[in-house]
């Protein structure tokens, strides 16, 4: 059902956890649908210095979360914003059809965290 890469990220997820005093936090999904993803970021000089996730959801949800953290760590905020869910699925060697829509939300969680970071910056600069 899942590719080896998906299974690898599911069994050995990268960057699980929460960052203390994060620069941005984003959460998407809801328990009714069975998937919740939470990303927290530390950003320095417009780069993602650290990123961690927590996920409630199926194997695909956990693997996409893990993959997103790997893909964007060290990247600029702009580069991170360019990442979308389809690219995450591709990086994992593909996802089963029925998982493409329900569980592939990790890029959304990342974007939500970046939005939170930008909001905080605006507030701080006031």
């Amino acid at each position: 059902m899942y590719t080896e890469k998906v299974m690898d990220h599911f069994m050995h997820p990268r960057n699980v956890g929460e960052i203390d005093n994060p620069d941005g936090v984003g959460q998407v999904g809801n328990p009714v649908c069975g998937d919740i993803m939470k990303m927290s970021l530390r950003i320095k000089d417009d780069r993602i210095e650290d990123i961690k996730f927590k996920t409630f959801g199926c194997g695909a949800a956990i693997a996409t979360s893990s993959m997103v953290t790997e893909l964007v760590k060290g990247k600029t905020v702009a580069e991170a914003l360019a990442l979308n869910n389809r690219m995450v699925a591709e990086a994992l060697g593909g996802l089963p059809c029925k998982k493409m829509h329900c569980s592939n939300l990790a890029a959304d969680a990342l974007h939500a965290a970046i939005a939170d970071y930008k909001e905080k910056q605006v507030q701080a600069s006031r």
Binding site: Y2, M7, F10, M11, P13, V16, Q27, P31, V32, C33, G34, D35, I36, M37, K38, K54, T55, F56, G57, C58, G59, A61, I62, K98, K99, C102, S103
Partner: protein, 389 residues
């Protein structure tokens, strides 16, 4: 790695004696039971022996057994067949919220065809209150269909009382006993059951074969048209090896029922006690004692069922979940919702169903790996309270 199969409610392995009984009909015995030459008559005799074996398991008469392609077809035939035959007498049907999809979706299809359907609720243990059935009956009611024992949470319904109420009101009573047959004693006479569905592959028989018990004199229309097999209620060349296998499986189930049931009940209670005592934030779904001997169903808070199944699979354990993610639908199991679980808790359900090959070592193995798996997934979950992670 140990391999432990704990999904017997999904399907069971064919019993070696069942396979042995089928093999001649898969090898050289090739007659079509409708043919009059010797091998045809032999096939016919084998089909009739199987019919008697299935009948004996539920205390029916052989001519009350109609072979179908499985539990799903038996359920469809029962509901659609009776509704079509009796539509002049009334157009109201009563069933429950925790039926298998084969009944539930057929009832919904009948609604689209102009029937009214009442879906009885269940209590938090999954039990139907017979008083609610009494209240739901109207002069228009032609049929009641209630699952004998639920396939997800294992709760055994008070079929004796429900069927008696239907009988008192002169209403046909059907039960989907696919999970109950072979696991708990069933006597259609004593219980006043008019129609009963069963399926081969749930009782160590083959897949692709099942049966509908239809009480003598019942008015019922076929689902399909064709040849005049199965007293014109089910056309098509008989699946002789499948029928012979189902017959043998029924015979074995009848003989071994007390032993199987005792064995499974003991393992089940050991498993339930072990899980509840070693893992926090867990709930047992379904009634504690009025449940199928082999069924255990838990909800683990803060985690999701599919990731639990995947992790168990990596540890060699085959299980099932009511999580939406495994079914491809967006909603978690309607059964778990009907007993009042929240979406999160329903998503975190795990069904472990034991079978005749399981032993105490299997359960011990599950108990040895499950706490860590749950712990690992909880550590990853944003829903887990900080103090638990």
């Amino acid at each position: 790695m140990r391999n432990v199969y704990l999904d017997h409610a999904a399907t069971t392995a064919v019993h070696p004696k069942v396979l042995e009984s089928m093999l001649p009909y898969l090898q050289d015995k090739l007659g079509n039971p409708s043919s009059i030459y010797s091998s045809g008559r032999e096939a016919k005799a084998a089909v009739e022996t199987a019919r008697a074996q299935v009948a004996a398991l539920i205390n029916a008469q052989p001519d009350e057994i109609i072979f179908t392609s499985g539990g799903t077809e038996a359920d469809n035939l029962a509901l659609t067949g009776v509704a079509t035959a009796l539509s002049q007498q009334g157009r109201h049907i009563i069933t429950s919220r925790i039926e298998h999809h084969a009944v539930l979706h057929t009832a919904e299809e009948l609604e689209r065809k102009g029937f009214q359907v009442t879906y009885l609720p269940v209590d938090p243990d999954g039990l139907i209150n017979p008083d609610l059935l009494e209240q739901a009956l109207t002069p228009e009611t032609i049929m009641v269909s209630i699952i004998f024992a639920n396939n997800e949470i294992g709760t055994i319904e008070p079929i004796d009382r429900l069927a008696k109420i239907a009988k008192k009101h002169g209403v046909i009573f059907h039960t989907d006993a696919v999970q109950a047959v072979g696991n708990i004693p069933i006597d259609v006479e004593e219980l006043n059951i008019d129609l009963l569905s069963l399926s081969g592959h749930k009782i160590y028989g083959p897949k692709g074969i099942g049966a509908l018990y239809v009480r003598r004199g019942m008015n019922i229309k076929p689902l399909m048209q064709g040849g005049s097999q199965e007293r014109k209620l089910r056309p098509g060349t008989e699946n002789v090896p499948g029928i012979v296998g189902l017959g043998k499986a029924a015979e074995l189930a009848r003989i071994e029922l007390p032993a199987r049931s005792a064995h499974l009940t003991e393992l089940r209670d050991y498993l339930i006690d072990g899980v509840l005592s070693s893992i926090a934030h867990v709930r047992l779904n379904g009634h504690r004692t009025l449940r199928l001997p082999g069924n255990a169903n838990f909800s683990f808070e803060f985690i999701e069922g599919e990731s639990l199944l995947l992790s168990l699979d990596m540890a060699g354990i085959a299980a099932s979940s009511g999580s939406a993610c495994t079914s491809g639908s967006l909603d978690p199991s309607h059964v778990l919702m009907a007993i009042g679980l929240s979406h999160e808790v329903a998503h975190g359900s795990l069904r472990l169903t034991l079978g005749r090959e399981n032993n105490k070592e299997d359960v011990d193995y599950v108990l040895s790996v499950l706490p860590d798996i749950v712990g690992r997934l909880r550590a990853m979950s944003p829903l887990t309270p900080a103090k638990e992670a």
